[in-house]
Point group: C2
Chain length 190, copies 2
DNA sequence: TACTTAATGTACACTGTGTTCAATAGGCAG
DNA sequence: CTGCCTATTGAACACAGTGTACATTAAGTA
């Protein structure tokens, strides 16, 4: 009972692979269970033994991605270190195809939203330590701005516009983040 | 032939109203033509006389919104004036319900993407005049960052977090935009 | 008022869904 | 290696939504 049946592992694996293949050409909302199973060479009923919708499958893929890359997220959260950020982007770049789907539109906005919410509390905690003289509300305001912008730039970056290295890319995002904080002190002089 | 038949106008209007009602509870991808027509009290065949998918209808709604509010977009594009920006946000706030749907997730990411692309060339032209010493690529980089962040903040703002006035909100976005430009000069020292 | 055409009601074939159930095939433990 | 266990299969089912066609009705327009 410790590990899943070999057959189940195979079924889930091939379903994920097939879904990712389909997501290269169409958004998750247009993927049917029927075509997914045909692509995977499985009986349609087999799908229902493990999932209810294609979206369940995508969430599982996302979960694995986050679990695997979270070792790069956490260090950056603890100490605001651009090198750690560069390592994260290197790791993302190594899974280029998968990342492009997850950060892109065919994977629905759910993944980027998930990342933003996941990282939010830790980052805000850090920021409160670093900028104790700012309101939490203002920091939250800047957080949502910076991370939405960052997610867009990551997508652009993965889509190949510019071909910047992970280090330079991390450096630029870091710069933008720092300068955004400087804007806070002007928020009140409206 | 100058104006559409009164009956057609009524049909399209009630279809739009019904779609917006449904979009308060579910994303566009889950709206069926059948339920839409039931909501509108129209025969299902009538829908096909004017549209192919619910998405066509949503695009038409977006188009009208953009046409109507573009008078506020353009002045801001020409001269980077926070007051114009505040007027735009006032106008958006006046159509609060509709804006919340269009900028939110049930209207798909297509609307915010559309706005970003629509405004991009004009803004970049302005920025090139204002910052002639910066690379266009760097300005584009900052543009995508700033506008994705701004779209998120608009959504948050419309969702009611904070209840800031249109003026203060515009002022803050303006601040963030200006400080993001300052980051460019550090991009090259990687 | 007569003309024009939008909207209706009905019907049809088609695709995908979600479920059931007996039959089969393959992995796993003893 | 053998026999048990269970994942997978294939077939069938009712159901919901799609897209189209066509004759009929209703309403706006000139």
């Amino acid at each position: 009972m410790k590990n899943e049946d070999t057959r189940v592992q195979f079924t889930k694996k091939i379903l994920k692979d097939s879904l990712l293949k389909l997501l290269k050409t169409k958004p998750i909302t247009r993927v049917t269970i029927k075509e997914l199973c045909e692509e995977a060479g499985l009986n349609r009923g087999t799908f229902y033994l493990h999932y209810n919708e294609p979206n369940d499958l995508l969430r599982e893929i996302e979960e694995e991605f986050v679990q695997e890359k979270m070792s790069f997220f956490n260090p950056y959260m603890k100490n605001d270190n651009p090198d750690q950020l560069a390592m994260l982007f290197s790791a993302i770049l190594q899974n280029h195809e998968l990342s492009l789907i997850l950060f892109g539109h065919n994977g629905a906005p759910q993944f980027t939203e998930r990342i933003k919410k996941l990282v939010r509390p830790g980052i805000l905690e850090d920021w409160q330590r670093e900028f104790p003289h700012y309101d939490l509300a203002d920091l939250q305001f800047v957080y949502d701005f910076v991370f939405s912008g960052a997610m867009q730039l990551i997508l652009n970056w993965l889509s190949g516009s510019g071909n910047i290295s992970a280090e330079i890319f991390a450096h630029r995002l870091d710069c933008l983040g720092h300068y955004c904080h400087l804007a806070i002190k002007e928020f009140r002089y409206a």
